[in-house]
Symmetry: D2
Subunit: 351 residues, 4 copies
């Protein structure tokens, strides 16, 4: 019963076949190969416009490079206080932007609200601003709380940002889960809603290691080459990352994988709620955050379930776990099986 993280899964068989096929013969290195060219076309088709992109091996690299292309070193990046770039990347954005500072903003269910962004902007741009100007807004889609921004929510936040002169970045480490959840076109939740740059995650979706920074305005990618090189992020056999993405995009495989992961999470959430456990944030993607009695959590672990406890920051007072309770995170993936889910629920309900 593996619910620790979607990066504990391996890789989809179709991805593995694509790697093996892609490794045949010789090809130019550093992205000047045919698979990379094909991927450019596939991305442009997927997003219904010409895009530029760079491939990386990690999501942190994708976020940091993407934001470095958007935000000059003397500006700040607004992001949710639970965002991965704030909590888990130990200064990567500051490092790659050469100094742009992160301004964390609180918000319910892992989401930024218009009101909170407006307040933050007012402070940074009003007549009383003291030296720091905002440069970019970063949204996480799906969020770190397993929720998903609606198209109109992204559009409203991006409009606010644009009005104030900010570029908009989307951390899409779990973009596939968000799109599968919304059932929208990828273009609708990105550039049509005002997003300039997307970190598109392939790894959690089912690749071995494949992340992409997608620039909806190709001109934004200019000047990124030296940052990638200096950062050690120019993979020589780039075709082997490109092949993974091509396999994911072929015949909608990426959305099939994400839909499966999402449905496993929905089943978990529904099962737990039916048993009366609180699940403070709706399980809209592939993560479920129930509040469990500590005894139940212990029983699960004793029976081999693997999952993490989670910080309660962002819970309203009414939702905060009692002394004998704990907030936990359950993450599903393309590799999660219905049997595992049922076994987990069975252990919870047993007594």
């Amino acid at each position: 019963m593996q619910f620790a993280s979607d990066n504990w899964a391996g890789a989809s068989p179709r991805v593995l076949s694509a790697i093996a096929a892609g490794a045949a013969g010789f090809a130019p290195s550093y992205g000047r190969d045919d698979a990379s060219a094909a991927l450019g076309e596939a991305f442009s088709a997927l997003f219904e416009r010409e895009v530029a992109f760079v491939l990386t091996a990690t999501g942190t690299a994708a976020n940091a490079l993407g934001l470095a292309a958007l935000c000059p070193p003397d500006r700040v990046v607004l992001a949710h206080e639970e965002a991965h770039i704030v909590c888990d990347e130990v200064g990567a954005v500051e490092f790659f932007t050469h100094g742009a500072r992160l301004v964390p903003i609180a918000g319910p269910q892992g989401k930024l609200t218009e009101q909170d962004v407006r307040t933050a902007l007012a402070r940074l741009t009003g007549p009383l601003s003291r030296g720091e100007a905002p440069g970019a807004l970063s949204l996480t889609q799906a969020t770190e709380c397993g929720t998903v921004y609606r198209v109109e929510e992204v559009a409203a936040l991006a409009a606010l940002a644009r009005e104030a002169g900010l570029a908009v970045h989307m951390d899409g480490a779990r973009f596939a889960n968000a799109v599968a959840s919304l059932g929208c076109r990828p273009a609708d939740i990105t550039w049509r809603a005002g997003v300039d740059v997307l970190s598109l995650g392939g790894t959690k979706n089912g690749a071995m290691m494949a992340e992409a920074v997608i620039f909806f305005d190709p001109a934004r990618a200019a000047g990124l080459d030296w940052r990638r090189k200096r950062g050690g992020h120019v993979v020589s056999k780039a075709r082997l990352i490109a092949s993974q993405f091509l396999a994911l995009l072929e015949e909608g495989h990426w959305l099939d994988l994400a839909r499966h992961a999402n449905s496993m999470a929905s089943r978990l959430a529904a099962g737990l709620a039916a048993m009366g456990f609180r699940v403070p944030w709706p399980a809209e993607a592939n993560e479920v955050f129930p509040i469990l009695p500590r005894a139940v959590a212990a029983r699960l672990k004793a029976n081999g379930a693997i999952f993490h406890s989670w910080p309660i920051a962002g819970l309203s007072e009414a939702e905060v776990p009692a002394e004998d309770e704990v907030l936990v995170r359950l993450v599903t993936s393309f590799a999660t099986t219905p049997a595992e889910v049922e076994r987990f629920l069975g252990i919870v309900s047993s007594e």
Copy 2:
């Protein structure tokens, strides 16, 4: 006829099988998996002592992280003026060390000499030193000129460094080719000769993307975690890099691959020399640098050969190409075939 670079090859079949096998089931992410643990043991066995290591997807990342662990930001790194860290990484070492400066040193055949290192050290450490102190010496093995340092050469340079308080780094993007060429034990040319940290390249050797930083004193690796994270170099599904290295190390596969590449280069060099062409640097690993008439180079390209021209820096006046000549670089790999080599030589000799 692919002689552009050893990173134009794909991956060895054994490596591809290992990736597929490694992707089965779930495993802890970020290097806390069984394959990573097994690799730790394999590296320690290979180097005949306990080592620490981190895995990366690029050689630039390995070099920059390794040197960041060795050299504080207020020191300088001595390296050959043709070293990859000097010519091809656009400031990665300075970026990851937070400011340690590179001091390029000239030297024949891509190698540093004791005399030149001594002169550089004298200037930086003598009574007239003006603020900069040396922190590390970086050697490239095999060198960017296709030559290989002898064990006693490394030992002498490392002794010089150690005496002056410097740590010693080895850029081993083509370490396998060097070891295959020397026929020595990996330990002999590294820690036993005074090397503290090795960038061990798997990608050019036959992996898809697999590089490692090997710390012969595990304590040196302390404090590297945040640098990797901040740099975006913590690969989540680390087991899939570890699997590649395990496949390379199994049954000496890495040396078999390197020996093949080296023998293809030797055949090229011997063939060209027999036809009377100058090859200023001995082809000791998997690179050959002949001086060809421009007409011959053009004929080769017209017939489909792929290779690069090369800067003549480091050639003695007697060796410098004439107006109608050009210095070119031919790189072989595990995937180079004898037939390709013979066809190349045949085109050269035809008229």
Copy 3:
């Protein structure tokens, strides 16, 4: 009627005489001169223990260098959200520490409370911490709201910090005003209360440009030399900064100047309060923050008063200015005259 800032004043006549006297003859540069040596003794006497110090021309440099000596690049600095290092130095701390991130904390009257620091520490160090560890706590004394930490407040916060392994920095741009206000010994509010490093401001106190970083543990200053040099903060004719501090410290001149400034602020605050205006934060040093009707503020400006409006962040809802009101900041200095103060109050009360 100059209340814009204490850095709009010139320099005390005693300081100017000291500069002129200090400029006579030749002396070693870069701090190896007699005045700098004498200053070391004067600082040690002032703080009742041996201290190390470096001199700078700006307070931002003093803060950034001091924190760089305390906080490694992979840690964060806790500070009040209104602190100068957070609001006004555009990333200087991150720049000089090579990446340590600032974590702003709210708190009433410009002060950090034990409870808020405890909460911040819990989040960063508990079992749910995600990669960032705290490295230093920075306190501003006097605060940006014109208030002053009591000795026991500093001691309690510093004890909290020390327990969690943090070093403690004090931004003392207006340290003289705080000491004059408290009537305590400088040692009591610094190292005896747990402060490791003090940015000691001379400029606002009455110097031309003279700031010092005081290390209560001289070992902490080791390794700062290259940071100063790389940052362009090694003043060649250092004796001319040292002379300014010597003049300030002679016969308690610094405290005389600060006491005068403080008394001018007290008179302003008392006068305004007597007329019924709200002054939300007690004027404990040389700054007063009254809420004035916009009409009054306009009348003052029309009559030549110079002062700034101020952000209301940190005011409780009850204190927030009404539509027709504005929060303003009045800063006094050694050069403020009682006549100016009375004239200002007279204009306020006129109608």
Copy 4:
């Protein structure tokens, strides 16, 4: 007999009077004061065109900020291998540019030659360039060897740079001495010869601490504000630096001071040459580099002369000191007296 450095002198009486006068009354901080405005006009008059400028307290800050305005982080700065930015500033340029690398170039008498710059450019910009592009050329005027570039030399080097797309920086820590030596107009040796940005030194010329970065194209200064702030180089009481420069520029005081210093150096050089000592570099500004018998150097020191030995890098083989000789540096300043010079020469000639 003080010949250690021109920064061992104090400040000219006229500068000291200007500081005292400038400190009267209140004035806006951070450069929005009348003296700073007047200085803008004075600089524009001096250079015969509208210029922008920023003031700093150190020459390292001026160099680093000026180059940061000219050279993006992915480019390199070409400079003489003996330049202050290469040998004495421990990475300040790299720090403030966020990574632009220095490429040191050798050249006789402390000067770059067209041929050597051409060779360096060819390597960085030719078809074989490997990732690094040149961004700026930095010239030191007067040089670190006490020589002075002729107008036509600067023009030729700047033309080379401009053709290759580089901006041109001049480190003028001793600019006054160079102008006094050449007898040219300041405009002739700067923008009319192709210089974009000048670090104009006041400190060694006779100020207490006053350096300026002069932008001959004011647009170049855009975006420098945050760099200054982040670097801790925004002096609050800027009028007190401006006053120093105003005093220097009034009635040609700066050139009077420089001419005096130069004439003291000429006298030293002529005296030593007349006694048969080698002076390998012509003493064209305020520095003399004679080769003295060690016995003579020791006798001078025993009699109270203060001066430094100097690295011999850059001397031709014929010039290199013998075993019993030493190359020394003698620096004169506005405060050097003819009596000191004669006494020095007297001790040399005594036996």
